[in-house]
Symmetry: C2
């Protein structure tokens, strides 16, 4: 039974202390966020606290806020309502919470305005309008959700301090991510075993997500379980699986404290890859391996992306789908018509870690997105460092909207052999994604327990 | 394989026509609502359209709006972005959508302001602040979410027209609810079979929710799967199940168009109820049966609630837990200390149907909530009519917060035999809930395929 121990209190204390040191005299308010109503006020989406709050407290506390003020940390919480023992059971006492979170004090949320009054306090906007409006009223200035990439002044300092801390995972963070990867492994295995021709995609999705629920986890993002792998974010799983189909499964678990995993595998519905499927699968696999091998300290992530692109071009030239000089094709971006997205992103408390901060998170200062189609979707371009966790997820897709778009394919008209490509029509989309920890030495593949070699995948489906 | 056919276009047309007739010249704007960001803007909770919008369109279309203007229905939709074919696949054409929804026109959302300009238009506030703010700006007046029970003027007329329509389910609605009940049946069966001592509650929850996902459905509300049935809305399933425990499972599926089901059963972890568990189970079962038998046209729902209370009192007197005259005990509300909630609620597109409209939905004009503890949680007090769907969910709970509260238990100090009660300490909470359709004759139990007799439940767990 996979179950996650809470982050040790000592680790939370260290994180807050480091952050406080980085902030100096600047107080900081980190909010947990609100429940979101679904179809009526009392029918709510499952609560998920803001990631910065989780990082510093480990606690999923709706409506709460953490005030860091010099060396002092106070957690402000919504007190239990008088009928809570009937509807929600006995609440954890404030003293227990103080001890578990290791903060200096726990106080009712009503005391927060007085603690802030008249002071300049940094904050990060919550992802929900209700909480952002509350932050505005607490701080006496406009705090806008989804405007995090344009943060200014003290908020900008706080964002940079959080980024500095969260980019490099501590031991406790890595332990949490490992647990999520274990649940993801169980999910993929159950899904692979459930797969057969004649079922709906939803049957596989159910098998996967059931494993997450068993582990007390949820999905870190909307699972993609589809025979239409060429649609990058295919959200529906209502299609029937036919003999000969490939099923693309992009599914990862998020544990109780919010730590994520993110894995893609491609499974043959019949249990065996066809020769053409296998050939393209091996091209993507080679790109996965080559890119992972580059995950080393001081390597620029854009170069990891380009390594994947280069490997794909080389493979497609070998298969006769592309013609010509590999270096020239890579230079001109020929891979983007078959691999039109970035090779990966940061991974942590968010599956795209800290994406609430916009490209401030993924792009080192002075670096910006490429204007080129495909490459512009690269979410990360930092120099790697030990303790960073990233995904590596190259792919090959036959996207009709690309292949019929002359502005995209035209530049490669002479390089692309459409007759050769037509022989691979039983491949719509393949993506092979692992979670990788940059270390001082060899990169550690956190998801190595999920088979990726084609023969091993076939064996796993039967096991 | 349980899969739900879409609501027939003809049924949608009839619903809109009836609503338009009720509104006369008053135009009405029904919004679908927005995606809610989870931990960053692109990581969103699964989209679920507003129920009024679903009722009239059957379509889960983020950001869309339906304008009813006399006999004319126009659906305004967010056009596909230029890179949608890459990320989300090819969109349904506007012509196809027009045909499927049976509306007079489909137009881009940009054209909505011009269609509304300067006119008095009724609306119902969406459940998310972002959409409500958009409604305010479209209509040039303040439209507040969660303020629906205080609707005024044209909005009040629209709310009443929707209520009139949605209270009495048409054939298409009943067909949808039946499908959700079928998935719920599959879920409870899988959960019951997965139950054994030594597992975590989450294992049972996973088995149940996997069945919903297989059917392309989701949970209609946060599942309650707990050995602590005495906590009415216990949201966690991280506890271990021990030999001799009862597991309370309150879980229901919601199908792709949003139609709900809502079922509670209680399963003995070891596969057999103890004698004391069985005795109290049978008391609650008798209350379930007696209340369901009252679901007939023109019966006031409060009387259904009281019938459940009366049956529970009678059973507890028979078991020696309460002493004295049944009528007198019922009159004084003795059941409320063991059954401190309402016997049920409306069921439809929302699991508490139309609760976004507040007690305007559940309470007939002129009726208000009882001030008495327990009874005050009754969500429904209308006269029943053929086509209404309700839940019937009596329970028995030993809630520490109640049993130690002298203001609640004091009035029954002489009636309550605490020694007798102590013999039933292996029962924390039992609730038995069915979904029931009021017809012209016998009530129809939509969830009758889920065994409820104790012996049948035991047999089902093995099957």
């Amino acid at each position: 039974m996979i179950w996650t121990d809470p982050t040790p209190t000592s680790a939370l204390v260290v994180r807050r202390t480091k952050l406080s040191n980085a902030l100096g005299d600047l107080p900081a308010l980190l909010v947990a966020g609100s429940y979101r109503a679904r179809n009526y006020p009392a029918n709510r989406y499952p609560f998920r606290a803001e990631s910065h709050f989780l990082y510093l407290t480990g606690a999923q506390l709706p409506g709460a806020a953490l005030l860091l003020d010099g060396s002092r940390a106070t957690l402000f919480v919504v007190p239990a309502a008088s009928d809570d023992p009937l509807w929600h059971g006995e609440s954890e006492g404030l003293g227990e919470l103080r001890k578990r979170a290791g903060v200096d004090a726990v106080a009712p949320i009503e005391e927060l305005p007085a603690a802030l009054a008249g002071r300049a306090v940094a904050t990060i906007p919550a992802n929900d309008d209700t909480t952002a409006a509350w932050q505005s009223s607490l701080l006496g200035r406009t705090v806008r959700p989804r405007g995090a990439s344009a943060l200014e002044g003290p908020d900008s300092l706080l964002a940079d301090a959080l980024l500095g801390a969260r980019l490099i995972h501590d031991e406790a963070a890595v332990a949490q991510i490992r647990r999520s990867c274990e649940a993801t492994t169980a999910g993929h295995h159950a899904g692979a075993r459930a797969l057969r021709p004649g079922i709906r995609e939803a049957v596989v999705r159910a098998a996967i997500e059931a494993e997450f629920i068993k582990c007390g986890m949820t999905t870190a993002y909307g699972s993609i379980v589809t025979t239409h792998g060429e649609v990058l974010h295919h959200e529906r799983s209502d299609g029937m699986v036919a003999e000969g189909d490939l099923l693309l499964v992009d599914a990862g678990a998020e544990n109780a404290e919010g730590w994520s995993s993110d894995v893609t595998r491609v499974y043959p519905a019949s249990g065996r890859f066809s020769a053409t499927q296998r050939a393209l699968y091996d091209v993507v696999l080679a790109a996965n391996r080559a890119a992972i091998a580059k995950v080393r300290p001081n390597v620029r992530y854009r170069d990891v992306h380009l390594e994947a692109g280069r490997t794909i071009v080389r493979g497609l030239v070998d298969l006769g789908i592309l013609r010509g000089d590999v270096d020239g094709l890579v230079e001109r971006g020929a891979y983007t018509i078959f691999f039109p997205h970035g090779v990966g992103h940061l991974l942590g408390l968010d599956v795209h870690d800290m994406e609430d901060l916009g490209d401030r998170a993924g792009y080192a200062p002075g670096r910006t997105r490429s204007p080129r189609f495909g490459d512009r979707y690269l979410r990360l371009d930092r120099d790697l460092a030990p303790g960073m966790a990233v995904t590596i997820e190259p792919g090959f897709y036959q996207v009709p909207a690309i292949l019929r778009d002359d502005t995209l394919v035209g530049p490669f008209a002479k390089d692309l052999d459409r007759d050769a490509l037509a022989r691979f029509r039983d491949v719509r989309g393949i993506r092979l994604e692992d979670d990788v920890l940059c270390t001082h030495g060899e990169p550690e593949i956190l998801t190595r327990a999920i088979p990726i070699d084609a023969a091993a995948v076939e064996a796993w489906m039967r096991a």
